[in-house]
Amino acid sequence: MIQTENLLHELIEKHGNTRDGLLPILQGVVAKENYLSEPRMVEIAKALNISSAEVYGTASFYTYLFTKPMGKNVIRVCKTISCKMAGKQEIIKAIEKTLKIKVGETTRDKNFTFIETNCLGWCHKGPVMIINDEVYPEITPERAVEILCEMDPKHLSKF
């Protein structure tokens, strides 16, 4: 708790307590806590002197600002046309099978959330996967599984 209060304090220190600072602050919270919890949004609203509804409304516009609990690691696979043509569906299947979750879901241990996204800007090297900020172009199903297992060996046995 003390830690999180510090977090907000730091973020406000850095980005200011005006509306301009809202998105960087929200990003900062998501980076540390994976998502924007209700109390956190309320605190931010207070600090910026805006309503919590505005914080929520703004956050819900952006795909990187989650208002629902997310896993520690967010896996994104591009679903747009070039990657589709390059076989993104196979990657999705492999990930779903490895983590035993469907697109849009979070593993029970809250370690991974798996989502599909629009074009990630690597169309010449599709299919592409991004885990947190790390990019994996020209990914194969095997390689995807390997990466996941490296991150969380628990999934090794299950595959």
Binding site: T18, R19, D20, G21, L22, L23, P24, L26, Q27, G57, T58, F61, Y62, T63, Y64, L65, T80, I81, S82, K84, M85, T117, N118, C119, L120, G121, W122, C123, H124, K125, G126, I130, D133, E134, V135
Partner: protein, 388 residues
Amino acid sequence: MKTSELKKVDIIFDCVQCAPIEVVKKSLAMHPDEIIEQIISSGLRGRGGAGFPTGLKWKLAKEEVSDQKYVICNADEGEPGTFKDREILDLVPNKVLAGMAICAYVIGATEGFIYLRNEYNFLLKKLIPTLENFNKNLQEIGLDFTIKLFSGSGAYICGEESALFESMEGKRGEPRNKPPYPTRNGYKGKPTVINNVETLVYCNMIMRIGVEPFKQLGTKDSRGSKVFSVSGDTTKAGIYELELGIGVDEFVNEFGNGDTKAVQIGGASGFCVPRKDFANKIIGFEGVPTGGSMMIFNSSRSMYNILKDYLEFFVEESCGQCTPCRVGTQQLLKGIEAVKHGEMPSSYLNQLMKLSETMKVASKCGLGQSVPNAFSSIVKNFKEEMIY
């Protein structure tokens, strides 16, 4: 097809010994009006998609009287099939920064931002030190201008300039009413020049190599070269700097693998050119304009699936505020599905074509206005694929 007529150009990534900061220094010795003059005479038009003449944009911003002005580099690159801005920022970031600095000098801005899409955060590792260094260099050469980074939060529409400002101001990325335009009323209501990453590099390069070498390339309305992002059914997917005004056939000869059925030029918001039109269309503002996205489709591809993919993209990425776009995109998507599944007669496509016309003329911003580009060019040229 080994020998090609296609002229590849090397301006953007060219690494001749001349540090970008030197170009800024050189520019500082010139009068701002002189720089504007040069950019205008180069014929450079924005590379972000809309193609507004860059020199004129700078001129308008310079003429505004204001205590504060801004220069913003639009690196929100989210158009499906575009990835050149990422490559530019990765390989030659200093050239982008130099372009911004020159612009700042011209219009009298002291603060600048790079609006970087969140998906490109991995670039930050290199970009932040580069930026710090560059800011220091600017101080050394005596230009009062600082560049900061602003990280996007995941929304294609934030590439639209006024939505981008809203987003930077901590709000939902909903495009504003225009006029007023950014050069008068941009970020925080102040005069702002917003340029695409690539545009800024060309500005820098024009100041370095002069107007002539640039002007010699391209056509009357599409001067110079441009960086293309090539993907899809090709063995040569990647980034290429090519002269503007080349024929689509020339392009296909170079990049297609012999079975190209259509090329989608300009991404989901661009146009689909079918094989029969390859020979009579050129790539550029007087033909098919593009922000750089070139997606190549072979005859095995279903154009229905491709169109559906684009529409799904827009249904999600529309900001949702205006009726023609929010509802129109959903109707187009639902409509082609219904026709495909036989739930609606094929004549319903005509109704949808009319709808796309409404979207084009009545939507609030460029997103809704350009959804019809892909829709009508695909439906018109591949009607059978939509029905059967």
